[in-house]
Assembly symmetry: C2
Homo-oligomer: 253 residues x 2
């Protein structure tokens, strides 16, 4: 059955989508069968892999209008498929709020296809609302992308508490696979301070791989391509490949 990973941080713009797409593509390049699931109504992940957000996607699967199998679209990368996000996901918080088991709609809907994949990676929106709860109640592993900036640090404690609460009350299997520093620029004192502080608080959680600030990583989505296709020799490609190897070794433990 698939390894189930979510990319989670309620802070905006910290690299969740960029990480989901490029870890997924690096894993696919290693020969893993990977499904990327976009659960963000802004559907950045969807366009970053040239998937079509007008076709039935994650929302339609969650509310039972489309079978999960039919919502898996191919991407430019062999072994990499995508379930599209669309604007309907924005209404889900309110649609589901009075439902029995409202946090388990995604888990139940995706169960039939979990054996078809080696990895299922879910890209979350910048919020801890009901949609993200659905992802957290399904997942086994959480990867927390963390921008090397002060404002990004503020939310980390709250995020850790939320994960602990979900683990206690709704999903005992949930575990933090790791904290990933993103958009790191080595000549910046603030970035180095952030890396040092977080590494000292959470020495076992922090990934060895640090993703550098790299303009090719921000260009790739405009071409609908993961970084390893857009620019195979870039620093962005190398670092996400190294991260994918760390992910593989951590899920095996």
């Amino acid at each position: 059955s698939a390894e189930k990973i979510i990319f989670l941080n309620q802070k905006g713009g910290v690299g969740k989508t960029t990480t989901a797409v490029n870890v997924g593509s690096a894993l696919a390049q290693m020969g893993k069968r990977v499904l990327l699931v976009d659960i963000d109504s802004q559907s950045n992940m969807t366009s970053a892999v040239s998937a079509d957000s007008r076709l039935p996607g994650t929302y339609e699967v969650i509310v039972g209008q489309c079978s999960p199998r039919d919502a898996c679209q191919p991407t430019p990368v062999k072994n990499l498929f995508a379930m599209a996000g669309n604007i309907n996901l924005a209404g889900l918080n309110i649609e589901l709020v009075n439902e029995e088991s409202r946090e388990f709609f995604f888990k139940n809907a995706i169960a039939p296809i979990e054996d078809d994949w080696d990895y299922i990676l879910v890209d979350c929106p910048p919020s801890l609302g009901l949609v993200t709860m659905n992802a957290m109640c399904w997942a086994k592993y959480v990867i927390i992308p963390l921008q090397c900036e002060y404002l990004a640090m503020e939310g980390l404690n709250m995020l850790m508490r939320t994960i602990a609460n979900i683990k206690k009350s709704l999903n005992p299997d949930l575990a933090i696979l790791g904290i990933l520093f993103t958009m790191y620029s080595k000549r910046t004192k603030l970035a180095n301070d952030v890396v040092e502080d977080i590494s000292s608080f959470f020495p076992d959680l922090v990934f060895k791989t640090i993703i550098p600030r790299n303009v090719r990583l921000s260009e790739a989505p405009s071409h609908g391509l993961p970084i390893n296709v857009y620019d195979a020799s870039s620093a962005g490609t190398k670092s996400y490949q190294s991260l994918a190897e760390e992910v593989v070794s951590r899920v095996r433990k």
Copy 2:
């Protein structure tokens, strides 16, 4: 009565908070009486001006537990006050969903103090949910911070459509004061492409001021200070001062 401005973009991490805080502080430095209102449950704006998110704030005012006057806290900057955000704002989407006039709670709650200020600036979360709707149904002006990156552009069309819809159905006074390019790095081809494209689509909306990527701007919040206090001579201070002057001249038209 106060000029009523919101900092709006559903995309995360594009500089809404940094812009709200530093435009507010620059206006205060010009002698304007400025109230910063944090309507984001992550309360980044609150800590960026050393305000206390444990005191009654925007949530308590919205639900009528605290008078708006009592929720205005002083900041390190003369003439600059802040209404704090806190985690209770996260539940508001659901709390208000069945209320009569659910989009007008903020407008009604803040009305009593609008004559006390020259400017009221509201920092929004990265979403278009009910909390942000409350800000949009109260505001006169919208400032859209836009990161010079492809993924940030994707949401702009949807945001413009949402503003147009609100203007038509719920708040005819709503107007876009301008689009602001943030985190611009001039040697990046992508940044220049983004500025060119958006400027050609919306020539009258784009501010002349462009905020450069500037590490001092990302350090300032960790000291609880706006940029003009933290580092008065930095490029960040100069650009937000120039933006504040453009804002003053545009609201006068």
